[in-house]
């Protein structure tokens, strides 16, 4: 982490030195200026990434919550099988889904679009989100829900008015994890997106900074710093609610 930040502040010559210096002799912001300069649409990459990852987090949580609720509360025959089936998807390596997803997106004319990327990210984030949400819903005392049923509320409203507020820390935590995972996903954007202007940051880093004859280490590290920063901010903001979310059983009325 330190190395990344330190290198990003070095001049091109110092960054490429065979005997690396522990701190920059001459600190410069030139690498950062370069990012926002005319040559590379860094701000656009940044917006692409934030947009697609945020959309993925929201879509995943919105789909996962009712699914997790059903798996947690409803009693039906194949419940266990479905729950573990969902988990099984999670165990597949990322690349196994690559080819089928590519063909699906091709058919849906969503290749090389940001929407297509969200679909790709979501397929991989969803199983995890469902399992995580399920554990949060499991922790809500069933009596609280039964009280709402006695009070006359139908299931969907109980989910929205009683369960959702109680698992809010869980929703945030799950959303953040999905967000971070999508952010770090390199192979999907590299495969599904061909136009550089629609590319996400991690993929763009790879595509633009590693050249055939020369690698701009300083510039790459500057970009990497800016790529990591939002992730860290996201993590530290929800850190407290992650802890709270994991102990949300303590919210019980009893």
């Amino acid at each position: 982490m330190y190395w990344m930040v330190a290198t990003s502040l070095k001049t091109e010559l110092e960054a490429a030195n065979l005997h690396p210096t522990p701190w920059p002799h001459v600190a410069t912001l030139a690498n950062y200026e370069g990012l926002f300069g005319e040559s590379l649409p860094f701000a656009l990459f940044f917006a692409n990434t934030v947009g697609t990852c945020l959309a993925t987090a929201v879509v995943a949580v919105v789909i996962a919550t009712p699914a997790a609720y059903a798996l947690s509360r409803a009693r039906f025959r194949l419940r266990g099988a479905i729950a573990y089936g969902v988990l099984l998807f999670r165990m597949l390596p990322l690349v196994v889904l690559l080819a089928p997803l590519y063909l699906l997106l091709l058919d849906a004319r969503l290749l090389d679009t940001r929407v297509g990327l969200v679909v790709g990210f979501t397929t991989f984030g969803l199983p995890f989100a469902i399992w995580m949400m399920k554990s949060f819903i499991d922790a809500v005392p069933i009596e609280v829900e039964e009280a709402a049923r006695v009070d006359g509320y139908p299931r969907l409203q109980i989910l929205m008015k009683v369960v959702a507020p109680l698992i809010l820390p869980g929703l945030l935590t799950t959303g953040t994890f999905v967000f971070m995972e999508a952010w770090n996903n390199l192979i999907y954007p590299l495969t599904f997106v061909t136009t550089l202007e629609r590319q996400t940051l991690p993929a763009a880093l790879v595509l633009t900074f590693t050249g055939q004859f020369k690698t701009d280490w300083g510039g790459m590290m500057a970009a990497a710093t800016l790529t990591t920063l939002p992730l860290m901010i996201a993590f530290f903001t929800v850190q407290r609610s992650i802890v709270r979310g994991l102990t949300s059983g303590a919210l019980a009325g009893a």
Binding site: P141, V150, D151, P154, L166, A252, G253, A254
Partner: protein, 366 residues
């Protein structure tokens, strides 16, 4: 206001039978208590009345209308849960108003109802608080308030006092009865505590192993238990039992177990003759036994000899646990009586205070 009629209700979970052939008629505005040890099916029956569980067999009627297919929301019931089941994210006020809002009452009316109920339960000052900021007794009141604020036809309570300390429990018992008198609802109250049942119920249904053993007023259950289970479950300290042999002539039947001799009344002798068999279980309530001198044994109907196992001191009186040849008995004696552990003593009783049970089936002889 509603009459509840439970007819041949059964409940099975896969292979496990939770309830079998339960029958119970609950009158309008009655306060009925379902009592039994844990696992007896009392909570399951309550949840069936609530609509939170479906029956596997039999029928449930409210005012002669079958409600088997009626959803919880449409049964006009309110329920107090064992762990209260308060909404943790809402204030006390919102907890109470939540059900009223669903019914789309005007907010002025909701406000009036909530405040009136809060006044009645003395929780007005807590309305802005969250459940986690309340003590156990206060949560209990809020749970009660949430149930009665809706003015339901049926009021269901599932062991509502089990999480409170002994002192608070006695206080809330009176409170709940006061509330029941103030509202028009029929109340079904589940507890494993027979003292709660005796002190609160207009009538009591004693349950065991998924069956209703006996339904009756507290006095009926205490004076005429239908079988050995009800006899031992109702009353503290519990009724003692002695297994005896039937002996003597037809005109003077005696029950014998080693040094224990019992002369039964003519009515009891008839019952014994009808039942047949030569073994019988005799039940005697602790307060019916009194210590007698050896010389008196011939004059009295019932003379039980045994050795003192344990003496419990309860302030005004002593509980003397006695081991006899046929079984163990407990006697309640005044504190002045001198009883030492290990000594052999004789207790006497009247024949009319005996409860006779079939030795094999445990049912009371009539």
């Amino acid at each position: 206001m509603a009459r509840i009629s439970i007819r041949h209700v059964e409940k099975r979970y896969d292979d496990v039978v939770a309830l079998s052939d339960c029958n119970l008629e609950i009158g309008d505005h009655e306060f009925i208590v379902l009592v039994g040890p844990s696992g007896s099916g009392k909570t399951t029956l309550l949840r069936i009345i609530a609509g939170l569980e479906h029956v596997s067999g039999g029928e449930l009627h409210f005012d002669d209308v079958p409600v088997g297919d009626v959803d919880v929301a449409d049964r006009d019931i309110a329920m107090v849960f064992q762990n209260y089941g308060l909404y943790p994210h809402m204030s006390v006020y919102d907890n109470m108003a939540f059900g009223l809002r669903r019914r789309k009452l005007p907010s002025a009316q909701i406000d009036e109802n909530v405040r009136r109920t809060a006044r009645m339960l003395d929780i007005e000052s807590l309305l802005a608080r969250r459940p986690r900021q309340l003590s156990g007794g206060q949560r209990q009141r809020v749970a009660l308030g949430r149930a009665i604020v809706r003015d339901p036809a049926v009021f269901l309570l599932d062991e509502p006092l089990s999480n409170l300390d002994a002192h608070l429990r006695v206080q809330m018992r009176a409170e709940i009865l006061k509330v029941h008198r103030a509202v028009a609802a029929t109340a079904v109250y589940v507890t494993h505590d027979q003292i709660e049942a005796l002190t609160m119920g207009d009538r009591i249904a004693v349950m065991h192993d998924g069956r209703i053993h006996q339904v009756g007023t507290p006095a009926e259950l205490y004076d005429a238990p239908i079988d050995r289970f009800v006899a031992s479950f109702i009353g503290t300290p519990a009724m003692g039992f002695v297994d005896c042999r039937v002996a003597g002539s037809a005109s003077a039947v005696e029950l014998v177990a080693d040094a224990t001799r019992i002369r039964v009344s003519p009515k009891q002798a008839e019952a014994l003759a009808r039942a047949g068999g030569d073994r019988i279980t005799v039940g005697i309530r602790p307060e019916r036994l009194s210590m007698i001198a050896e010389a008196e044994t011939e004059r009295i109907d019932v003379a039980v000899r045994g050795s003192v196992e344990v003496v419990e001191m309860l302030g005004a009186e002593l509980y003397v646990h006695l081991s006899t040849a046929g079984g163990s008995l407990t006697a309640r004696v005044p504190r002045e009586q001198h009883v030492k552990v290990g000594e052999t003593v004789t207790f006497g009783a009247n024949a009319r205070d005996l409860h006779l049970f079939d030795h094999a089936t445990g049912t009371a002889l009539k």
